[in-house]
Structure formats: C-alpha cells, structure tokens
Symmetry: C2
Subunit: 212 residues, 2 copies
Amino acid sequence: MLEFAILGLLQESPMHGYELRKELTAKLGAIRAAISYGSLYPTLRRLQAAGWITEAAETPATAEEVPALTSRRGRVVYKITAEGKERFAQLIAQAGPETYDDTGFGVHFAFFARTDQATRLRILEGRRRKIEERREGLRDVLGRAAERLDAYTLELQRHGLDACEREVRWLEELIANERSGRAPTVPNIGTAGGRREDNSPPPPGETRKERP
Amino acid sequence: MLEFAILGLLQESPMHGYELRKELTAKLGAIRAAISYGSLYPTLRRLQAAGWITEAAETPATAEEVPALTSRRGRVVYKITAEGKERFAQLIAQAGPETYDDTGFGVHFAFFARTDQATRLRILEGRRRKIEERREGLRDVLGRAAERLDAYTLELQRHGLDACEREVRWLEELIANERSGRAPTVPNIGTAGGRREDNSPPPPGETRKERP
DNA sequence: GCCGCGATGTATCGGACCGATACATCGCAC
DNA sequence: GTGCGATGTATCGGTCCGATACATCGCGGC
C-alpha cells in the first residue's frame, strides 16, 4: 500500500521524505491518520534497492568539495524511475482482493486520476461487493443474534450498518458516473510547469452532483 | 487491542481459539473484517504466559490414559483468571490516546457494558475531539488546497468529511444519553446460567432513540 | 462402502506498518 | 543569545495480517 502511494506521488514531482509524508497525509486524510516514518523510510530504501526510485542530488553539484567535516547531511530527494512507473502501472493492473479493504480501496481511489476507466470500474464494483457482504453480515447479527448482544454492541452494529448502506449508495453513484463517461476527472495533474506525460484518461470536464 | 478484546470476551465464557475468533468477528463486525489466526494464537500464548488466562481441560479428566499414539490434539479451551480480570479493568481505566483511533475506539465501545459510566464518557469525548480534528483537517484541504488536488481525491475527501460529520452527530447523541443517565445498557451480560458477577453499571432500562 | 468436501480446529512464518525515540538544523520571537 | 517549534532523517521493538500447512469430523452423493 505504502509502496503504491509513494510511486503514485513521486510521479507528480520529486520529493524528500518529510514532504512525501505531508502530501500523503493530505491526500489520504480521509482514509488514515498519518503514515509513520517507521514505515516510510524503510519502504523508501526498499523501493530504491528495487530500482524504482533514485536519489536526486539536492544542491546542484556546485558544492566545492569542502564539507567532509560537519558532514552536512541535507535532505534526500527521491524521484521515480522508468521502472518505477512501470511498477506502478503493474500494481494498478493487478488490483486484487486486497484492493477492496478500507485502506487499500482508499489509496487506490486517491490515484484514480492515473487509473484507466476499466480498472476504475472494476475496483469500484469489487469494493461495492465487499461492502455489501459486510452489510449482510451486520444485518444477520442484528436480526438473528440480537438478544445475545448488549445494547452498546448493538448500537455499534447499527452505526456500522448505516455507514455500509451509505457507502454502497456512494459507490452506486460513482459507478453510474463512470459508466456514463462523466467521470469527475480534472485535467491538470502534474505540478506546476505544464509538462504533461501521465496516462490519465481524457478529461470529460468537471461534473459535480448537486446535493438536494 | 487484541489483548483487550480477548480478555473482555473470555469474561463472558471460556472459549477455544476458533470460537473466540467467531465471537470476535461477530462483536467487532462493524469495525474490522476478521481477526487473523496469525495474531490470535500468539496473543493467546502471550496472555497465558502473563498468567491472565489459563487452559481449561476439554474432556473432564475421565480419559483413561489411553492416547499417546494418535496423539489426539483436541481443542484448547481458555478461561480468564482473576489477574486477567484485573488486567482488563486496568486497561479500561488507562484509556489513553490510542483508544481514540478507529479500531481502538470500536473495540472499547464494544465492551462499554463492562465499563463504568465516567470512563465511557471520557472515551466518547476523546473520540469526538479526535474526529473533530480530522474533520477540520479535511475542511482545510477542501477549502485551501482544493485546486492542487484532482477530482477523485476531492471526492474522497468529501466522502470522508461527510462520514466525520455523521460520526460527530452520533457521538453527541451518545454523550447526551450518557449524561442523562439513560445509557443503552442491557441487564444480563454473561452467558446462560444467570450467574451475575460483572461490574457493569446498574441497568436503567432499555432506552432506544427513535429515528424520525 | 467410500470418497470428497466444507466446517472445525491449531499452528507458524515472513512481511507491513505503527509508536516511541533519538538526534541534528534552521529561523524567529522574546 | 537563547529557547522553541518546524523541518528533517533514521532505527527499534512490537502488533497484526495473509498465506500456508495440516488434522479431524460429519454428511451427501455415487
């Protein structure tokens, strides 16, 4: 999951660890609290070892060989490699069952702008099925085993059931939107500078559903 | 978290691993999918080593020394010890910040029937504060940094914000309920048999809020 | 009669991720 | 001129998951 998110973010612009964490937190704020350095840095090292990202020099090589003492350990900027982009595409393509749990779905959804429409549809439907299953489970418990559970546990189930029903409706809307081609996709993705080299789908224009 | 849930469940009745997992899944179905054996069994061993649970013999000692071959490895039933109950009470009392994240809160809430009212209130308010913070973060992103993010990411944030607002309202209701003494607490907790030895609060009678 | 198969049941292993902790630099307010 | 919060990199122990292995039991189909 972290691997996927990092590769996705670094395609927008090179970043160092701290920045990466902030962006990740902003982008995934709806899903999870904040990713930990204890997983971020090891993952970065792993991705680098695999050749999917590389370190980019911070100061543009004009340093006159001076340091050696004070050992000046500046920030380490990472950028994605061609292999990394390939890897990211591959991770999108093989969206498996783990893509449908809460975190997995959220992270994939956050990068839907870099995902082709067919895969978007597949993921949305997989997620819907999973939530429907959870919903049925909760209904079963609330129906059959209600008297075995205390009032607080029941209230928890009710709240969970409510959230499930709500998410299914949300997913239905998104699926209908995808099918009709009016996906909520925004044109400009990359950072400032106007270079446009991502494989995002053709932008069919802003479409927002109005809330009644 | 798992430790807490196991100690809580075993206070209702002795159980073996498989059963424990099923009950856990039923009770926490609204929170998480299903707990893994890869964490359940090691945790059971840890709790046993700490003296908080013990193995209870499955067949009531009438086995006539026969086995030794076929090695008949039957199910292992665990029951909580007095120290275990103490540990559980202690875990409730020291409900810290980790109690307010999604999983932690859900698990604690599921055992509110074994939690005193003051602690229930403290946990509900802590959770509310945490969700309010997340909500503010999402509002910030949707307000200030909206143009930096693509339409899918924005939609994710909107959905998350909606869920936050809904949960805050839910928590407000629960808090008001607690304050007025009309907590949704059910009298009989333990398994069949009528033994009543838990420290649950006095049952003020079923109180259900009607949905308009 | 026996064969498969799904439910029941215990267990381990590698890997992902978290929370706490440590430590260093920079700018700025007091 | 000094403390302090933001920026920044890094490790360690521990929790939990997912895959996998393996054994038993009851039941229906052939």
